[in-house]
């Protein structure tokens, strides 16, 4: 894992000192709220419905046990004993007091963490594949790239006041677990014809009001050109991105209005100057960073305990079935800890649970933890012989829900329970669907199904790329939910299509059930997942299931 050097440490401390001073200036009146707001946002501090909210970056979703314990400590000391893991690999504390925030930031700095640039119109926390460094299908670890970009984007003098926020994701595998095509810049590590690694660069992806799948702007970018090239993209966007209309300010609109070819032309023109604007220092640093991400010293040991538990214990078997993924070392497994217990708030973890996860990582997981954009927690390196012990400990702590990838493993944004921008609640909908799936008892039979819920058009819950997407809206003061089908956030990215008119809150669960039941009837066999069936049969039968009367009427 990356370790701060004295430079990083002093930087983060100086930022805390600056913010402490800014808070004082706000309280003593030398800064107006209008002036203070962008400064607090640059330090991750929002004002939400009920209170301030501090969003802490978990760069590329990587944590160690010490950091996780500190998050638990912060939750207990300055918040209400829990934290919320978000779809952008951040953690949010929902109840901090303004005057405590500098102390919280100091506590984060103690464990090499910060809340810098988790908000505001700047380059946000860089996200990456949560299985990075562990996945069997990986070409290269995306985290060194993500760390390089974190450093580059931190306090970048030109890009703290862009037209709008800017999100970058990196994937190191052909299987895109980082939803790169839904980012302002998506980087996929690839190999060219002669075996060199580089990046396929896409731009202008994004969800929100106008969902767009990103377009490729460079099909092969050599590793050494990364910073000058990304800087060129940002410079062009900073200059020509729209500032007259907040809904048209994201780079996806800039790209659409100018056309990808014209945009590329401008970027390449900038790049010709830009690439002389850097020495090779960043490449030397990348080498140093990469060394810090070397794989841990994997243990060689028999895996008999794993096989025995598998044969003996059906509960363990179902855990293995859903919550384990192949590790590049065949003796190891990637263990996902679901933060989606049926009926719980997706992505929430109590301080107690955070400590359990930290202990397990330290004891069995080479001290590594990941947070996924799917709002789960991951132990990326667990030797198979230890999986039964990990599972037993998780069961004790109520963290052994075996539902990863299933219908109750729902992504839900905070929605109107917390978020100032929300038009409807999303968490209770997720809670109700998950609870219903448990009652039905058939989510294993249903299989792979991604349900994603957003509480407003900003789409933090990624509903456009859910197999079933749910968007909460406000219809004359009443919550109303639109359903989309067929979205996909992976390398076969697609945006979901709206089925028809929205549903009242109480009708959402029955609607989702009708969709699931329709799928169960239509699938060609048990191996055909929901998305595959939808792609094969199309919208019509699902639409008929949701709106029987309308479809009948139209047929008459």
């Amino acid at each position: 894992m990356y370790r701060y050097d004295s430079f990083d440490r002093e930087f983060v401390r100086s930022r805390v000192a600056q913010f402490r001073q800014q808070v004082e200036r706000r309280i003593d009146g030398s800064l107006t709220e209008e002036e203070f707001k962008p400064l607090r946002l640059m330090n991750g501090l929002y004002l939400q419905l009920h209170a301030y909210m501090l969003r802490v970056a978990i760069p590329y979703g990587t944590l160690d046990s010490r950091q996780m314990r500190q998050l638990a400590h912060i939750a207990e000391r300055w918040d209400k004993g829990y934290g919320h893991f978000t779809t952008r690999q951040n953690i949010q504390f929902n109840w901090p007091r303004l005057k405590d925030v500098p102390d919280i930031l100091d506590a984060l700095a103690d464990v090499e963490m910060h809340a810098i640039q988790t908000s505001g119109n700047c380059v946000r926390n860089i996200t990456a594949d949560h299985f990075a460094g562990a996945a069997a299908d990986e070409i290269a670890d995306p985290r060194p790239t993500a760390e390089l970009l974190r450093q580059w984007s931190t306090d970048h003098p030109e890009f703290a006041f862009l037209p709008r926020k800017f999100k970058i994701a990196v994937s190191g595998s052909p299987v895109d677990r980082a939803v790169t095509r839904a980012h302002d810049i998506g980087l996929r590590m690839i190999r060219n014809g002669v075996g060199e690694t580089g990046y396929e660069v896409s731009i202008g992806g994004g969800l929100g009001r106008t969902p767009v799948i990103g377009s490729v702007v460079r099909d092969f970018l050599p590793v050494a050109d990364l910073l000058p090239y990304v800087e060129s993209i940002l410079q062009v966007y900073n200059a020509i991105g729209r500032r007259d209309n907040i809904y048209k300010a994201r780079i996806k609109i800039t790209v659409r209005e100018h056309g990808i070819d014209a945009f590329r032309e401008r970027v390449e023109q900038r790049f010709r100057i830009q690439h002389k604007a850097f020495t090779s220092a960043h490449q030397a640093l990348l080498k140093r960073i990469s060394a810090m991400f070397a794989a841990p010293a994997f243990i060689e040991a028999p895996t008999g305990a794993f096989d025995a538990a598998l044969a003996r214990d059906p509960v363990f078997r179902s855990f293995v079935d859903t919550n384990l993924h192949p590790h590049r070392n065949p003796q190891y497994a990637i263990v996902t800890i679901s933060l989606k217990a049926h009926g719980a708030t997706p992505g929430d973890a109590t301080a107690e649970q955070m400590r359990v996860i930290a202990d397990l990582a330290e004891r069995y997981g080479h001290d590594e933890i990941r947070i996924s954009h799917e709002q789960n927690c991951i132990l990326p390196h667990v030797h198979k012989r230890d999986v039964p012990a990990v599972h037993a400990a998780l069961r004790e702590a109520d963290l052994a829900t075996s539902n990863v990838g299933l219908a109750s493993d729902i992504i839900a944004c905070p929605g109107m329970d917390y978020c100032n921008l929300a038009t409807a609640r999303s968490i209770p909908i997720a809670q109700d669907i998950a609870t219903r799936m448990k009652e039905r008892g058939d989510e294993r039979q249903v299989g792979d199904l991604k349900i994603k819920i957003s509480g407003c058009i900003n789409a933090c819950g990624h509903h456009h790329v859910g197999h079933i997407g749910i968007l909460g809206l406000d219809r004359a003061g009443v919550e109303n939910y639109q359903i989309t089908l067929g979205g996909d956030g992976t390398e076969t990215a697609a945006l979901g299509e709206r089925v028809g008119p929205g549903f009242a809150a109480d009708d959402v669960v029955p609607a989702v059930e009708r969709l699931i039941d329709t799928y169960l009837v239509l699938r060609s066999d048990e191996d055909e997942a929901f998305l595959a069936t939808y792609r094969r049969v199309g919208m019509q039968p699902f639409k008929a299931a949701l709106y029987p009367d309308t479809v009948l009427a139209a047929g008459r």
Partner: protein, 147 residues
């Protein structure tokens, strides 16, 4: 004609009165500037194209880029672009800039910031000096981004 020069200058050492005695000529990007006095000062909007100004580099002594709002960061990239294209003269950011943006301005290639006197009253010199040490903790420098 550009704006006058009644503002307060902020430099690394703090506040001072504007020492530029000449006129400011508003740059529109279109007119024929053959009549421009030598070593003139240009007033430039943050939407200007740096390339268009290149032919004038030798003849101007000062470029003043307008910051209409502290939320609008275009001026930073414009300054950087001018510097990368070889402009070596004086470069000034003028308008609604916060003390907290001083570092950004300096690292983008500005030599100084100009603010209105009434704005300077609320954003005291002390607050600017707190951020005047713009060379430390510079990630871009560590990554080899040339100044």
């Amino acid at each position: 004609m550009g704006r006058g020069n009644s503002g307060i200058l902020v430099r690394d050492t703090g506040f001072r009165d504007d020492d530029w005695r000449g006129e400011f000529v508003q740059w529109s990007g279109e007119e024929d500037h053959s009549a421009l006095p030598d070593l003139a000062a240009l007033d430039v909007e943050n939407t200007a194209s740096a390339e268009d100004i290149v032919p004038l580099f030798e003849r101007i002594a000062l470029i003043r880029i307008a910051f209409p709002s502290h939320m609008d960061g275009r001026g930073f990239s414009l300054a950087r672009h001018l510097r990368l294209l070889g402009y070596r003269g004086r470069l000034r950011a003028a308008g609604h800039i916060l003390a907290d943006q001083y570092t950004m301005a300096r690292r983008s290639g500005f030599d100084e910031v100009e603010i209105d006197p009434d704005f300077a009253e609320r954003q005291s010199e002390e607050q600017w000096l707190f951020r005047a040490d713009w060379r430390t903790h510079d990630y871009q420098e560590r990554l080899g981004r040339r100044q």
